[in-house]
């Protein structure tokens, strides 16, 4: 898979075996690089940064489950930093954030439970079309 940021970080050669026993010191510089890039994109776009963190952790031989879970914990830190910085500049609307963020908690739990029961891959194209439509709406 071509991945420009991975090349920049020297992450282009994925290992075949999980490196759970590897000392943190050896991968720490790469993790720092992942954090810097993810924090930048996350704050620039108001998203957690998982879209950057998960693929890069996969390249560091994390398995999918561990990569997603570890990304989620890291996002907690970057989102707090981003929300706090924007809030200091008066750009956060807490009421609006609560209005979408709190119902979403129930939604995510429901979605994760549904994932085990329905053939999600059949819905993928529909979701991709939805994202593309909203993306196009923002482009014009």
């Amino acid at each position: 898979m071509p991945c420009a940021p991975c090349d920049l970080l020297g992450l282009s050669h994925p290992r075949k075996h999980p490196n759970h026993s590897k000392p943190l010191g050896m991968v720490a510089p790469k993790l720092v690089g992942i954090g810097l890039v993810a924090g930048f994109f996350g704050a620039l776009f108001g998203v957690g940064g998982g879209i950057v963190i998960v693929p890069l952790l996969l390249l560091l031989a994390f398995d999918q489950r561990r990569a997603s879970a570890t990304s989620l914990a890291a996002i907690l830190v970057s989102s707090i930093a981003g929300a706090a910085t924007y809030a200091l500049h008066g750009e956060v609307k807490p009421g609006a954030a609560a209005l979408v963020g709190l119902p979403a908690v129930a939604g995510v739990l429901l979605g994760a439970a549904l994932q085990q029961r329905i053939p999600v891959h059949r819905l993928t194209i529909g979701f991709a079309i939805l994202l593309t439509g909203v993306g196009a709406r923002l482009l014009v």
Partner: protein, 122 residues
């Protein structure tokens, strides 16, 4: 959009995020911008706050399953703070229309990534 409708979209955004394993933010930002009429910058800033409850619940659950590499998450998370400060500076410097269009491109790229991932998986 009425407030109830926006809350429903928030719920739906959560379901889609849980189903497809994407972060809620990618759906919160357009909901806040198009649904509530926030500026792109305010939508992005507020989205980061809106992410926190789901990220908190998700991390707690994944930690329970033993999937979180806490040390790695701490290194990525702490390093991200510096990146965040850079991202905020750039977002605030960019004209509203440019920021909005860049986000549109991000959405379309995410759509591509989801399709690619599902093709690879099946």
């Amino acid at each position: 959009m009425t407030l109830a409708a926006v809350a429903l979209v928030g719920l739906a955004a959560g379901i889609l995020a849980g189903l497809f394993g994407v972060g809620g933010g990618i759906l919160f930002v357009p909901t806040l911008a198009l649904g509530l009429g926030l500026t792109q910058l305010h939508a992005e800033a507020s989205s980061l706050l809106a992410i926190l409850p789901t990220a908190l619940v998700g991390t707690w659950r994944q930690r329970h399953y033993g999937n979180v590499d806490l040390k790695a998450a701490a290194v990525v998370g702490i390093a991200s703070i510096l990146g965040v400060e850079g991202g905020v500076i750039v977002a605030e410097a960019l004209p509203e229309s440019v920021l909005r269009r860049l986000f549109g491109v991000l959405l379309i790229a995410t759509a591509g990534q989801i399709v690619w991932r599902s093709r690879r998986g099946s």
